[in-house]
């Protein structure tokens, strides 16, 4: 199955993917029309799509560029607030147009913040970069808490509820498509080369600074769009939604899906959004499970002893499968 898919030409692959996307969309819309998927489930699906956008975009900086960012929720907040501000203050245009404009503005403002965060961090790497993005995220949250024009700590209310599943779904598809296009392009390969070996990349004539900024701006834009979707879905925005924990939640999804894997990001976003909703009764265990998942992922991937052990177990299964 996988081999046959990979043998296809680019256009055929795209056609297969598009068909799959359409079939899933038609199935969900059909089930919703019949009433099997009720409003509550549609809400979960919508949040899933928002999370897919967030996770895939964070994967561009953390997975492909290889720079740990801990402030993704900050970009989301900037996008959410600026989009909401626009759609609340813009009247006289059709709803759909206002919404598109709001999402664009949310994305672009987040992008500007991506540049603001990206440029000074060029000199830093690794731990320091992670910390400075954390600091930026916290500054954004704290400023929003004290910005009375957008409601401050009591929240920004009365945002028109334009978001629905279709918007979120197609925007998620667009994000995944754009990210795949970026990663498979010349620029994308340059971004990956920064992760693999920054010095070697620079020596090969790659303008590493430019591609770092590119990755940052790309990720920030889509985080802003996701924020816009979120705000217009909830109808209210509170700064505390965008605290450090939110950034970590997105990061957990990236790590679980696999850093540098778009497909993994999508799957992880789906599982980690749907599962906690279905397991409401054990909601208090959620962060505990996140924590254990993070540690276990890292240990199983890098601990030499555990790596050996899993390889052994895998081999056994393979042998058993062959002899059977």
């Amino acid at each position: 199955m996988k081999k046959r898919y990979q043998a296809l030409s680019f256009w055929k692959k795209t056609a297969v993917n598009l068909t799959a996307v359409l079939v899933v969309y038609a199935a969900i819309m059909g089930l919703s029309a019949v009433g099997i998927v009720n409003k509550y489930y549609m809400g979960i699906l919508l949040s899933t799509c928002i999370n897919i956008i967030l996770v895939v975009s964070l994967n561009v900086t953390t997975g492909f560029l290889g720079q740990l960012t801990l402030g993704h929720a900050g970009f989301m907040a900037v996008g959410a607030y600026s989009a909401a501000f626009l759609s609340k203050n813009l009247s006289g245009l059709p709803d759909a147009l206002v919404f598109i404009l709001a999402l664009m503005v949310g994305g672009i403002v987040a992008m500007i913040f991506g540049v603001i965060v990206g440029v000074p961090t060029l000199r830093l790497k690794g731990d320091y970069l992670a910390i400075i993005t954390l600091a930026f995220g916290e500054v954004i949250k704290n400023v929003l808490l004290n910005l009375d024009i957008v409601g401050g700590a009591s929240g920004y209310i009365g945002i028109p509820r334009y978001s629905n599943f279709s918007w979120a779904y197609w925007l998620a598809v667009l994000t995944v498509g754009a990210t795949m296009a970026l990663i498979n392009s010349r620029q994308g390969r340059a971004i990956i080369s920064v992760r693999e070996d920054e010095i070697a990349a620079e020596a090969s004539g790659i303008d590493t600074k430019r591609f770092k900024i590119l990755a940052f701006v790309f990720a920030a834009f889509f985080a802003g769009v996701a924020g816009g979707l979120y705000g217009h879905y909830m109808g209210i925005l509170e700064p505390k939604t965008f605290k450090f924990d939110k950034s970590i939640e997105i990061l957990v999804m990236v790590v679980l899906g696999g850093m540098g894997s778009i497909r993994g990001s999508v799957i992880a976003a789906i599982i980690l959004t749907v599962l906690p909703e279905l397991l409401r009764s054990v909601a208090s265990l959620r962060t505990l499970m996140y924590a254990i998942a993070l540690i276990a992922m890292m240990l199983f991937k890098y601990d030499p002893n555990l790596v050996k052990m899993t390889a052994k177990v895998k081999n056994k299964f393979r042998k058993a499968g062959k002899s059977a």
Binding site: T62, G66, L68, P120, T121, R123, L124, G126, D127, Y128, A130, I131, I132, L134, A135, F136, E138, V139, N142, V143, L145, N146, I199, F244, I248, L251, V255, S284, L285, T287, L288, Y290, A291, I292, A293, L294, I295, M297, M298, L299, K301, Y302, D303, P304, N305, L306
Partner: protein, 292 residues
């Protein structure tokens, strides 16, 4: 003037708590090259253990403090052995993610055990206030300051004068060469985590003496601020951490008093950003050139 002096005292108080935490960060970073995100949560564990000893088991204060220090020391060593040691050769990013995982693990497991409701921390310092020139200084303030200064001096002497301290400095300078000279790296790293966590336990108890509430999340904000202090002073440098912590405490107290009490957290983070952008090595940090 009086108000200014009061703010200075406030700043010194939070500064000395930050300093105790920042020392743990900076020592661990110096030796293991790891930002131990879980360090802030050790404070919380220390506070809870002390709280349990005092309220549930009704132990005397000295025993409670001792138990909480021992518990945190062991916890620090266990965390290092279980989660960080296997990843010593893995990429920095995966170490950082593991540290974040540990931090969340501690927070959420304590939330399951003790619920998220804040518990009132018993009064542990009931000495009279000190009055100097018309300013009365509450007992918690001068005790906190004194305890921190004594511990800092003790740590300084330990690192500079003892053989173990010498080993710690050697490992942070060049782990490979230190190993060739017969220094047991694993043991040294364990000791470093142990000392850092013990200091965090003291910080946790002192923090709760000033702000008498325990929740599973009390550690995260002082933890992050202490980390900022460590970066400010130059991460990896012990005097730097102390200097950074006092500067941060004063900046925070003065912004709260004169600029905006609501924006003080944002300003602290902006200080960090400015510092990282212009001098990432910190005030007393060494500039390390990158070699190909």
């Amino acid at each position: 003037m009086l108000q200014f002096l009061m703010q200075l005292i406030n700043g010194l108080n939070s500064g000395s708590i930050y300093a105790l935490i920042a020392l743990g960060y900076t020592m661990v970073y110096g030796i293991a090259k790891l930002i131990n995100f879980a360090h802030g949560d050790i404070i919380m564990v220390g506070a809870y253990v002390c709280f349990l000893c005092l309220t549930t088991w009704k132990l005397p204060l000295a025993a409670a403090i001792a138990i909480s220090i021992v518990a945190c020391t062991l916890l620090g060593i266990v965390i290092e052995k279980v989660a960080y040691k296997p990843l010593r050769n893995a990429s920095r990013i995966s170490l950082l993610i593991t540290a974040i995982g540990i931090s969340y693990l501690l927070q959420s497991s304590f939330q399951l055990i003790f619920t998220a409701n804040p518990k009132p921390f018993p009064t542990i310092i009931s000495l009279p206030a000190l009055t100097i020139g018309g300013i009365s200084i509450a007992a918690t303030y001068y005790i906190t300051f004194l305890v921190s200064v004594i511990l800092m001096v003790a740590l300084h002497l330990f690192v500079q004068k003892t053989k173990t301290g010498k080993a710690m400095r050697a490992v942070s300078e060049d782990a490979g060469a230190a190993q060739l000279m017969g220094i047991n790296i694993n043991k040294t790293i364990s000791i470093t985590f142990g000392i850092g966590s013990a200091l965090a336990a003291v910080a946790g108890i002192l923090y709760c003496a000033s702000y008498p509430m325990v929740t599973p999340y009390i550690g995260s904000l002082p933890g992050i601020k202490a980390f900022i202090a460590a970066v400010l002073g130059g991460i990896g440098s012990i005097p730097g951490a102390v200097l950074g912590a006092f500067i941060l405490g004063l900046v925070e107290a003065l912004t709260k008093a004169y600029l905006s009490s609501r924006m003080s957290d944002a300003i602290v983070f902006i200080v960090l950003i400015v510092m990282l952008v212009f001098k990432p090595s910190g005030i007393l940090g060494k500039n390390v050139k990158e070699k190909v």
